[in-house]
Structure formats: structure tokens, C-alpha cells
């Protein structure tokens, strides 16, 4: 039984999506607050970082379960490239808390999610 065919893969994938809700969800809240769309809520950092840790761990597990699937998938290339930029921006630019960095953060993370969702559509 390969890892891919067992019940483990869907379960890890689900935990990845749950991490997404916490990670990107709290980032969206922070960005929308910066843009003045919603009142200040928080503290959020704990949830953001917990979500990130969960996503990195489960993401790595899925990647290493079938490296060739991901390395040959164009959607994964796009996702990974934007992910690196988004992570870099998250820990540097976003700290400034300006309108520009908030919009940038929203666009980058949304693109990562959309590209990630597309991985399943671009399986060769």
C-alpha cells in the first residue's frame, strides 16, 4: 500500500486545508483591518503561526509522498513560486501595515490558494 493510496493522504490534505482556514483566514482579517474594512480583532498572531506550522508540516508530508507528481505539475510550480514571495512579504513588508502591503498580502495569498487548488486540475 503506497502512502498515496491509503486513507492517510486525504486526512493530511484535510488538516492542510484546516490549517489554511486558520493561517490565511487570520491574515485576511489583519489585512482587512489595515484597509479599514473591519474593526480591530485579535490577538491573531498565535493562530496565524499555528496555522503556518500545520500547513508547512502537512504540505511537506504531501510533497514528499510523491515528489514527481508535484515536480511535474505546472500549477505546483506557480504555487511554490508565489508562496515563496508571499512568505517573504509576510515577514517583511507586511509588518509596515500600510494599505499597499495589505492589498499585496491579500493578492499574494489568494493567488497561492487558487494555484494550490489548481494542482488537482493539472495532474498529468
Amino acid at each position: 500500500m503506497t502512502f498515496e493510496n491509503s486513507w492517510l493522504f486525504p486526512v493530511i490534505e484535510s488538516i492542510h486545508v484546516t490549517g489554511l482556514a486558520a493561517f490565511v483566514g487570520t491574515i485576511v482579517l489583519g489585512d482587512l483591518h489595515t484597509l479599514g474594512a473591519i474593526p480591530k480583532v485579535g490577538p491573531l498572531t498565535r493562530w496565524t503561526h499555528a496555522g503556518l506550522a500545520v500547513m508547512l508540516a502537512t504540505g511537506a508530508a504531501m510533497f514528499f509522498s510523491d515528489t514527481s507528481r508535484y515536480l511535474h505539475n505546472p500549477a505546483f510550480h506557480v504555487k511554490f513560486a508565489i508562496l515563496l514571495v508571499a512568505l517573504a512579504a509576510h515577514f517583511t513588508l507586511r509588518r509596515r501595515g500600510t494599505r499597499f502591503t495589505a492589498i499585496l498580502s491579500l493578492i499574494l495569498w489568494s493567488s497561492v490558494v487558487v494555484a494550490a487548488r489548481a494542482i488537482a486540475d493539472f495532474d498529468v
Binding site: L20, V28, V41, W47, V113, A120
Partner: protein, 130 residues
């Protein structure tokens, strides 16, 4: 025996929209992407128990319901027979019941629905497989 849910699924299955949705290359992936994107939008807002986020939360829920309904429309019979889809609907019903808990159970309702939402995501991913 007359089964109203199955009848609705059969009716949707025979519509021309179902055919268009399931045959189009991009429609279902795009709706699916919006659906997942809204999970992020909605997920954050339920983690933070702040009543000022109510409108924000309802908008997320509305988008989830609309895109979810369209995704259901793209393959109604398959989903009707999917055990995972049934589990997901059951969990969603339980979550809506949490909203009617008396206010002294607010904490239980908050953590209960968080766990149930995690279950919804688990069941949803399962649908893709079975």
C-alpha cells in the same frame, strides 16, 4: 418509497446546466477555487469570537453556500451517494444547531462548532476520493 432528496438530485442531474457545468473545462475548477478561497475568509472570522465580524462572517457563509450549491449541481447523483458528502451535510446541520444553544453554553458552542467545522473540511476532502 418516495425520497424527496433523491428526486431533487435526479432533477438536477437531468438539467442542461448540470451538463454544461460538468463538461466545461474551467467552470468547476474556478468555482472550486472560489469555494476554497472563501474557506480562508470564513475560517479566520469564526476563530475570532467578535460580534463585530458578524456581517463579514455572513458574507463568507453566503459565498460558500452559493458556490457549494453550484458544485453540487455539477454532480448531484454522485454526491447523493457519497458517504462523505452525507457526513458533511450532517455536520453542517449540527453546526447550525450550535447557533441555537442558550447563551450560557456560548463557550461550548464556540469550541463545538470549531471542531465540527474541522470535521466539515475533513469530510469535504474525502468527497474528492469517494
Amino acid at each position: 418509497m418516495f425520497n424527496p432528496v433523491l428526486e431533487v438530485a435526479r432533477f438536477l442531474q437531468d438539467t442542461s446546466l448540470r451538463l454544461e457545468l460538468s463538461q466545461s473545462t474551467w467552470t468547476v475548477p474556478i468555482i472550486g477555487a472560489i469555494h476554497v478561497l472563501t474557506i480562508a475568509w470564513f475560517g479566520g472570522s469564526i476563530l475570532v469570537p467578535n460580534s463585530q465580524l458578524r456581517r463579514f462572517r455572513w458574507i463568507g457563509l453566503a459565498i460558500l453556500l452559493c458556490t457549494g450549491f453550484l458544485l453540487f449541481w455539477s454532480q448531484p447523483l454522485r454526491l447523493y451517494y457519497s458517504q462523505f458528502f452525507r457526513a458533511k451535510v450532517l455536520l453542517l446541520v449540527l453546526i447550525s444547531l450550535c447557533a441555537f444553544l442558550p447563551s450560557r453554553f456560548a463557550r461550548l458552542g464556540f469550541w463545538g462548532s470549531l471542531v465540527l467545522w474541522a470535521g466539515v473540511i475533513l469530510a469535504s476532502r474525502g468527497i474528492a476520493y469517494r
